[in-house]
């Protein structure tokens, strides 16, 4: 028996090595990056440019004979609290007013990351929802399996589509953001909202420090931040003070790099450029702030929001979608005047990092796909956008919505200030695998603020990021 056992093991081992020898050896040569270029995102979305995405109309309306009547549509989203309540209201209105008897059910499915991890294993199966929120890089990952519907034919459908006039109403940059050159210019989503990275500042404290306006350049930012670190705010509810708190995050990296006149992606060479001069300058600047004792790292979830609210933090950079939460923290904390401004920049005009998840339509049946699109069309219509923007405090994606929000702008000047900066928007790259790259960037930023060498760390992470990109793009068939 024992001998038999050892004989079996021996045979298995031999078979293992034979199989190992039969397969091609692992190659260490990086896989080639797909040659098709990712187009740079359109800047200055408020300028009246013709949207690039829908220039080529569909030759025939393949959707003309599809009947969406009576379809049950499932929508996976990440919204909670007031935003979820507002979304459910919008869904209810659609359900009761749409002429086709379509019923949409909106389900909270966790954070963006949770939804992403839930989606991956069920793509191209009957378990997919009909609508799903997705960042551009997540949508690109889904499309590696051709799991999403290219909405171009629906958007341009004479019977069901969005009119040319309405298409022009979308901010061009936002409208173009969901078109993916890597996938033959497929439109993989429609944008219902956007946010922007802004600098939050305590204006009362700035006045106490002797400044009338927020910093416009990195030098001014450092001067004010360092002064605040040694001069606590008079209304602070806790001891201690600091000028700036940095949360290590790839969007923060991108925002500061944009502000230093660079980009994290070369759209012509189709490669990440984390080690660009601007990237190095931005990280060197932040490291200097840490070394000078004028900045520290955010160590707890939303810790910067808490510190900002209790008056111990002068500046922080974060998403404009956090406006209501900062307002609450400030009013319930040290109760001071605050606002938002552009991230201090070396460029002549600010460059603002605008982002936001869009809504994609996973492949199901033509009837369900059409029904899902009809809800999406409703969700992005001007009136619904105005309602959605006011409750969610996201930015609307259509220019005409601004006219419907005059009262809201008056009641929330910080929101208006941020809205006006949409003219300077720029975007992070919409490439598959960006989630993984983000993790690498976070670790690198942490190493930099912990005292690491900026140039060598950025060189190393740039190589890794491009390896990840090459690996992901190699999957496109």
């Amino acid at each position: 028996m024992r001998n038999k056992f050892f004989a079996i093991i021996a045979v298995l081992l031999v078979a293992t090595f034979v199989m190992a020898a039969c397969v091609p050896a692992a190659t260490t040569t990086p896989e080639p990056v797909a040659t098709e270029e990712v187009q740079p995102p359109a800047a200055e979305p408020t300028k009246a440019e013709a949207p690039a995405a829908t220039e080529v109309p569909a030759p025939a309306d393949e959707w003309a004979d599809v009947d969406p009547s009576g379809q049950q549509i499932l929508f996976w989203h990440q919204h909670t609290k007031d935003r979820e309540a507002a979304l459910l209201e919008i869904v209810d209105e659609f359900n009761t007013t749409n002429e086709w008897g379509i019923t949409v059910t909106a389900e909270y499915q966790g954070s963006y990351g949770d939804i992403f991890t839930k989606m991956l294993p069920i793509l191209n199966t009957p378990d997919v929802p009909d609508l799903v929120v997705a960042y551009q890089n997540q949508a690109a990952t889904y499309q590696l399996t051709e799991g999403l519907l290219d909405l171009n034919s629906l958007v341009n459908s004479p019977k069901w589509g969005i009119s040319e006039e309405d298409q022009m109403d979308f901010f061009p940059g936002f409208w173009a953001q969901d078109v993916f050159p890597n996938f033959d210019n497929a439109r993989l989503a429609l944008p219902p909202n956007r946010s922007m990275e802004v600098m939050y500042y305590n204006s009362d404290w700035l006045k106490e420090l002797g400044y009338d306006a927020p910093p416009a350049t990195p030098e001014e930012f450092k001067e004010m931040a360092c002064k605040a670190s040694t001069t606590p705010f008079s209304k602070a509810t806790v001891e201690g003070s600091i000028g700036y708190e940095l949360s290590v995050d790839a969007s923060r990296f991108a925002s500061w790099t944009f502000a230093f006149g660079g980009d994290v992606y070369d759209y012509e060479g189709n490669a990440f450029t984390y080690n660009s001069d601007a990237g190095v300058a931005a990280m060197t600047f932040l490291k200097d702030l840490f070394d000078s004792g004028c900045a520290r790292q955010v160590t707890e979830a939303y810790g910067d929001q808490t510190d900002f609210g209790n008056g111990s933090l002068l500046f922080t950079v974060g998403s404009s979608s956090g406006l209501p939460f900062y307002a609450q923290a400030a009013s319930e904390g040290a109760n001071f005047a605050w606002s938002v401004a552009a991230i201090p920049h070396t460029t002549t005009e600010p460059v603002m990092n605008v982002y936001g998840a869009s809504v994609s339509v996973p492949r199901t049946t033509p009837e369900r796909e059409l029904a899902a699109f009809l809800f999406l069309k409703y969700y992005t219509s001007a009136d619904v956008q105005a309602k959605w923007a006011k409750v969610s405090q996201y930015f609307p994606v259509r220019a005409s919505v601004a006219d419907k929000m005059a009262d809201y702008f008056a009641s929330d000047p910080a929101y208006k200030t941020a809205f006006d900066m949409l003219a300077y928007s720029h975007f992070e790259p919409p490439v598959p695998g960006y989630d993984f790259v983000r993790d690498e960037i976070e670790a690198t930023m942490a190493a930099i603020v912990d005292g690491g060498d900026v140039v060598s760390l950025l060189d190393a992470v740039n190589i890794k990021a491009n390896e990840i990109l090459a690996d992901q793009l190699a999957q496109i068939k």
Partner: protein, 389 residues
């Protein structure tokens, strides 16, 4: 003709017997069938399917059959792998020699013991060489995650077992409110791990005002970065500048180990308590008559008679630490770099962040085989020492 008749008769008898046996066994098979089906579907099928996936270039969708290429990517160099396994084999030989030598005090056996020690050193050197070759040519991230997993297991299991046993022994004494203590100790185990991990993350944040650093300040000690510290504990506390495996776990991992111990010692306490209940009181009385004090009774009665329970807990805890995920994922900070990325977290990242399903499956199979191998080794080494009364 007679022999023919005999054969036919025996055949008939056998047939009748086997039919009867089948009928009798059928009921038994029917009873075990649901369990077998459940185990096959939810236990064995995922393992077999993972093995199947691991043989393909399976990204978000299934790609080409690639044989063992995913495994080659892990180990990099099959020669290095073979050397490492050879070292492991020598380790086994050293153990065998040592145990043989331990059974006798004669001089030849002493020589055998020395021989075992030599083989042990050679085995260690060979394993180290093989490991170096694998790390150089293979998947450094995954191989390092295995080392971190071992650090985590070795740091967590012995301490949580020891503390669990001591607390169980104390609770077994005649003390007031022991039910309340029992419940309090068990609470960390039943509290959702994600919640407690988030609380721990706040307690052990790198802020000077974090609870852990405030406590340190009471003892005039400077603040530590805890979960944000990628440096090894040997460097943070002892100032040693060691490299690689020799440096040991980072302070960030040490903090997570602390969480692991806190989280699971209560469970061990309860199981040890059940084990203590099974030790006959007469043995303690006999020990007392023989003049044994409390420590002697604990050492010579409690520990040996608890060895089946200890063995069970050791195996389960060890396997658990290799599979641990939730709290490690929650407590990991970017500042800790890759010093807290255990194998299960690494596999998760490869699966979801890199969406490389086939490769993640191959890593899972490797982890599964390591757990299986360690369990068999523990069963062999420790199982022989278990005292069943």
């Amino acid at each position: 003709m007679a022999p023919t008749f005999k054969v036919t008769s025996i055949a008939k008898k056998r047939k009748a017997f086997s039919l009867r046996a089948l009928q009798e066994n059928l009921t038994g098979y029917a009873f075990v069938a649901p369990a077998v089906i459940i185990i096959l579907i939810f236990g064995l099928f995922p393992i077999v399917y993972s093995l199947y996936m691991s043989l393909f270039n399976w990204r978000i969708r299934k790609g080409d059959f690639t044989g063992l290429i995913n495994y080659t990517k892990i180990f990099g160099d099959w020669g290095g792998f073979a050397i490492f396994m050879g070292g492991l084999g020598l380790l086994g030989l050293a153990y065998w020699l040592w145990t043989r030598a331990s059974k006798s005090n004669s001089n030849p056996m002493r020589a055998l013991q020395i021989g075992a020690a030599v083989v042990l050193i050679v085995a260690g050197t060979i394993m180290s060489m093989g490991w170096g070759k694998m790390v150089a040519a293979g998947d450094e991230d995954f191989l390092n995650s295995l080392i971190i997993t071992i650090f985590y297991a070795v740091g967590t299991v012995p301490l949580q077992l020891a503390i669990g046993m001591v607390f169980a022994y104390l609770l077994y004494q005649k003390i007031r409110g022991k039910e309340a203590f029992r419940m309090i100790y068990f609470l960390p185990y039943v509290t959702p791990v994600v919640t407690t991990a988030v609380v721990f993350r706040t307690i052990f944040s790198s802020r000077e005002t974090s609870l852990a650093n405030i406590i340190l300040s009471w003892f005039n000690a400077g603040p530590l970065k805890w979960l944000f510290e990628p440096r090894a504990m040997s460097e943070v506390f002892l100032g040693l500048k060691l490299e690689g495996i020799a440096a040991g776990p980072s302070l960030a991992l040490g903090t997570i180990i602390l969480f692991g111990i806190w989280s699971f010692f209560g469970y061990n306490t309860v199981i040890f308590l059940a084990g203590l209940g099974g030790i006959p009181k007469e043995l303690y009385e006999a020990a007392e008559i023989d003049g044994a004090n409390g420590w002697n009774a604990f050492k010579n009665v409690t520990i040996p008679l608890l060895s089946p329970v200890s063995f069970y807990l050791f195996l389960v805890s060890f396997i658990g630490t290799f599979k641990a995920f939730n709290h490690l994922y929650v407590m990991a900070t970017p500042n800790a770099q890759n010093t807290v990325v255990t194998a299960s977290v690494q596999i998760f990242d490869v699966f979801y962040a890199q969406n490389n399903f086939g490769y993640a499956a191959s890593q899972s199979i490797v982890l599964f085989l390591i757990i299986l191998g360690l369990t068999v080794a523990q069963n062999k080494i420790l199982g022989e020492r278990v005292f069943y009364g």
